[in-house]
């Protein structure tokens, strides 16, 4: 993203003034790649979402869709390749090396830059996860190319076959479309749950290109001493939650947030929050929904005491049904909610919790 705020003036001048014609050596870059992220035997769903999106880009360009699968020998890399084909990849670049057993920036950066330099894709997509952002930043710098973070839309500008990556800026107040000029590959990250999960075709298959990589463990400075899974830590997984009850500054006091937890418990829901609430320390940062937090698309989103500022909205407007509870009848949240209750959240939320509890008790009796 162009850093329009660092200094004057915003880089809004037409891109046409700068060189759009690719150097001869860059014209050799062909194909769309998706980095397949996996840890401890499970692929991150964002990888498949990106394959769905990458498929469309590759078809527009008339090129192949490649999946990059790194990992240690004996890990489930073959399984991930097979899955990648089913989600739309034409070929998989398989990099197996013991030094890739667990994610470390140095070994993964080396693996991915090596592969890019050898096979030269024109587009490289990664999930905007903690792993993907860590890796994308160092790979783009190593390759000296452009990287656009947290894209919400990817397209091809057919005039010059370049990637047009759209992302929110200024906390979601505006969208900007960013192109990478005379540099390849064009890199972009996309958050989980922003793109739709593509249909899986079990019959689809493809070819595997193995890329050996003689990494020496002693050359890799950083060591993983331990991995502490979130089951031991009570960490939220908001992006994949089906029901979310979220609270904002309208909850007024930290102790009032208990009302949100109570409602969430009855519904078997996750608890979400706005940035001010997280910054005030009422709940952990893993529960923040919005431009600088998580993107969610639950079946039901209950927004309590949330005004609906654009920076929050961009993270939750993919929700199927939104219930908003707010004291202010003019709060922007009512402009994009399904149902609204105007009133005091401290009274309405307990009433709602009770109503759901009763509904569930009756439903149980009936069954």
């Amino acid at each position: 993203m162009n850093d329009t705020t660092a200094s004057t003036p915003p880089a809004k001048k037409p891109a046409g003034r700068r060189k759009f014609e690719l150097d001869e050596r860059l014209k050799a870059y062909k194909g769309v790649w998706v980095f397949i992220e996996h840890e401890r035997g499970a692929a991150h769903p964002v990888s498949w979402e990106l394959l769905g999106e990458g498929r469309k880009l590759a078809d527009k360009l008339g090129v192949e869709l490649g999946a990059v699968v790194p990992g240690a020998p004996g890990e489930d890399t073959q399984k991930f390749c097979a899955e990648a084909f089913q989600y739309g990849a034409d070929l998989c670049y398989l990099i197996e090396d013991p030094a890739l057993a667990e994610y470390r920036n140095q070994s993964y950066t080396r693996a991915l830059t090596d592969l890019v330099n050898k096979y030269q894709p024109e587009i490289l997509l990664l999930g905007a996860t903690t792993l993907g952002r860590d890796l994308a930043g160092s790979v783009a710098t190593t390759l000296q190319t452009g990287l656009t973070a947290d894209c919400t839309e990817l397209n091809i500008d057919m005039e010059n076959r370049s990637l047009a990556a759209t992302r929110p800026t200024f906390g979601g107040s505006l969208l900007c479309t960013i192109v990478t000029l005379n540099y390849r590959p064009q890199m972009a990250t996309v958050r989980p749950r922003v793109m739709a999960m593509p249909a899986r075709d079990e019959t689809r298959t493809g070819r595997i290109v193995e890329h050996p990589l003689a990494l020496v463990e002693t050359d890799i400075v950083t060591k993983v001493l331990e991995f502490i899974p979130d089951e031991r830590r009570d960490q939220a997984n908001l992006p994949f939650a089906d029901i979310i009850v979220a609270g904002g500054r309208g909850m007024k006091r930290p102790e009032n947030f208990q009302l949100i937890w109570d409602l969430a418990k009855v519904l078997g829901a996750e608890v979400g929050a706005t940035r001010p609430v997280v910054q005030a320390g009422w709940v952990g940062a893993d529960r923040q929904v919005g431009q600088s937090g998580k993107t969610v698309r639950p079946k039901l989103y209950i927004a309590v005491g949330i005004s609906g500022a654009v920076q929050h909205r961009v993270g939750m407007e993919g929700s199927d049904v939104v219930i908003a509870i707010n004291q202010d009848p003019n709060a922007p949240i009512f402009d994009f909610a399904t149902y609204g209750i105007v009133g005091n959240a401290m009274q309405i939320v307990p009433a709602l919790t009770e109503a759901f509890r009763q509904h569930l008790a009756t439903a149980k009796l009936a069954s």
Binding site: M1, R233, H359
Partner: protein, 281 residues
């Protein structure tokens, strides 16, 4: 020990409004603040200073007004502040920004070697999280992003052990200095600056570096010229618009409002009734 903390002055994005007709950011009256995530990084660095008598240098790139951000950092306890400001830096994307900041850190190193570079996990205006990793790569620093805890620092062995937020858990990583750390939010609480601190910060001399002072070797790699990415279009989002159906009841009693809402919800979205029933059973 010498720590460099990279900070950025940003408009408070919570208060930004977009002009409805021209689709431009209305900056008037929007306060400039230190990127909140950078303050978490600064506090973490100051804690190391308290413990190990480190020297803390804060570095920022921006217009001359960014001085305010540096003064703030000084008031919290930073020892030295450097402002990179030059028209030639304008319009930089993250690649060009990390080039400029890395050059400046190389200059800083000439006076005193740097052991740790700190940065926030991202800014609230750009939200890219790319500049920190960019600096690490350019300076050949070990890179530790999304750090939620510094477990141990061994200055003799020159090793650091941290907890890093990963997907589905936390990695405990041990690496060698020098390293670059981007810090996760919520892991500390910023200290308060006292009045004497603020006076001291106000009088503290700043170093103001243009591109030459920052040791920029290749001027084609900074600013707009050095940026591979360009903004080709800026436009207002077309948000989800759906006027909420406001639940109206005769009594205005919360209990009635809740009951009415449930009835409406389950009539129109029977699948939600099933979903909620399934989860509770």
């Amino acid at each position: 020990m010498h720590i460099v903390v990279c900070i950025k002055q940003v408009p408070d994005s919570a208060q930004i409004r977009v002009h409805p007709v021209t689709n431009t950011i209305m900056r008037q009256g929007v306060p400039a603040i230190v990127n909140p995530y950078d303050l978490v990084a600064l506090e973490e660095a100051l804690r190391l200073k308290d413990r190990y008598q480190a020297h803390v240098t804060v570095l920022t790139m921006g217009p001359p007004q960014a001085e305010t951000a540096l003064r703030k950092a000084l008031s919290f306890g930073a020892d030295e502040a450097i402002l990179l400001t030059d028209r030639a830096f304008a319009g930089a994307d993250t690649l060009a920004t990390s080039y400029a900041l890395a050059s400046a850190i190389r200059q800083i190193q000439k006076d005193m070697p740097v052991d740790l570079v700190f940065a926030g996990k991202q800014t609230i205006d750009g939200d890219t999280a790319q500049v920190g990793p960019g600096i690490a790569v350019r300076l050949g620093l070990q890179m530790l992003t999304y750090v939620c805890k510094i477990e141990a620092l061994d200055l003799e062995q020159r090793e650091i052990t941290v907890q890093r937020r990963a997907e589905g858990g936390v990695q405990v990583l041990k690496t060698r200095l020098p390293a670059l750390i981007t810090v996760l939010e919520g892991i500390n609480e910023m200290r308060f600056a006292t009045m004497p601190d603020m006076f001291r910060a106000a009088r503290h001399p700043l170093k103001v570096w243009d591109k030459d002072a920052a040791g920029i070797e290749d001027a084609t790699r900074i600013g707009l010229k050095g940026s591979p990415t360009v903004v080709s279009k800026v436009f207002a989002p077309t948000p989800r618009t759906q006027k909420a159906e406001i639940v109206q009841t005769q009594s205005d009693q919360p209990r009635d409002q809740a009951a009415t809402l449930l009835a409406k919800l389950f009539t129109k979205f029977p699948q939600l009734r099933a979903e909620i029933g399934r989860r509770a059973s």
